[in-house]
Homo-oligomer: 195 residues x 2
DNA sequence: TTAAAAAAATAAACTAGATTAACAAATCAA
DNA sequence: TTGATTTGTTAATCTAGTTTATTTTTTTAA
């Protein structure tokens, strides 16, 4: 069933009994988006936290000059939302867009609170997820400061080996904060040095 | 008493009864560090989360070339630790050092878990703090990508108006990921354009 | 199966910010 | 109250990464 990958994922962190699982299912819902569809649009409030069952999303924003900057990618077993908009319930600064057909389990804001109230283990799970997310976000800042673009690209490839094949190269460049032209140059360099 | 600022801070988020406060106090402890002292050292395990009652700390790391990069500053009513080392209990990649005499309330790893078990409201508080921290970390990544060094400096001044006066300028430059010379240039420019 | 659109590569000119070096001010320790 | 250390400035030169422009390759849709 649709929920299976999600329940398996949760099992990695906490054990839920039948009653809790039933509760969790009744307070979340399954949804399918198609390639190109927006889960969240810049300027609108982000109403859901999404757990990705299958597919791939990008989280990006458009700056004043009309340039897109990709903040994160997300694939199966990851979470995807604009957490800032979700927690404050204010307009989002980001877009979340599907790069493939994408199936998700959605938590609304109110339901998430209900879930936490009724299944404290779920709040523990979310706390731990947030800790991890914060660590990797800080790691990214650190890399940004201390690695050259080339080394950041290499780090990205090691860290997220599955993503590069699934998204166009210019989006990887955007994620790295460099131009597609420069990434192209870096790749040419890497190929040359290998042979 | 020493704990007052900490209890006041908590009151902004959740209400604790007398029993809970007593519990919280018995599972945390007060400590004073002096200017220049390290709270955490790169290579050692970070055993505490620290709530700052007074003072100022920097969280930085040394890269392969021996260069220091400041990741965050923290002052009164902020938290300071190497969260990555704290949650994994592995060697820290960062140093936390006092830029002023600094008083903190400390949570050890085990005690934090005990506190969460006995006062679920405290876990909610930490979840919310982590959400906020993640948002501001992501915001920093975004700024890094879309703002010039000058605009990042202006953003920093607005966001953290109290910090610039308390730390040397070259540390602000390090936080911004630019050289002290370039920050000096930026400041000269800003002064000129104002007049 | 083909034409149109999207993605990637290449290269020359350019710029934000780094590096180096020398000097000036401010702070601190005795 | 002075000299030593820490912090900040200025300026010339240099470089990693951008911009702009053109061409090639790949993907997509009908």
């Amino acid at each position: 069933m649709k929920y299976t990958p999600f329940l398996n994922y949760i099992k990695n962190f906490v054990d839920l009994n039948e009653k809790e699982i039933t509760f969790l299912r009744s307070y979340t819902n399954y949804k399918k988006y198609f390639k190109g569809q927006y889960i969240v649009k810049q300027g609108e409030v982000c109403n859901h936290t999404n757990f990705i069952i299958s597919g791939c999303t990008e989280n990006f924003y458009m700056d004043q000059k009309g340039q897109e900057h990709i903040v994160t990618f997300a694939i199966e077993n990851w979470w995807s939302s604009d957490i800032s908009s979700f927690i404050t319930q204010k307009r989002s600064d980001f877009n979340v867009k599907c790069l493939e057909d994408t199936e998700v389990i959605q938590f609304t804001c109110q339901n998430q609170d209900e879930i936490f109230k009724n299944i404290p283990k779920m709040e523990t799970l979310f706390r731990k997820l947030l800790e991890k997310a914060l660590v990797s976000s800080q790691k990214r800042i650190v890399n940004n400061f201390s690695l050259s673009a080339k080394d950041q690209y290499i780090y990205f490839k090691n860290q997220y080996p599955n993503i590069e094949q699934r998204v166009p190269q210019y989006k990887v460049a955007s994620y790295l904060g460099i131009t597609k032209e420069f990434l192209s140059k870096i790749k040419a360099q890497l190929v040359k040095n290998k042979s």
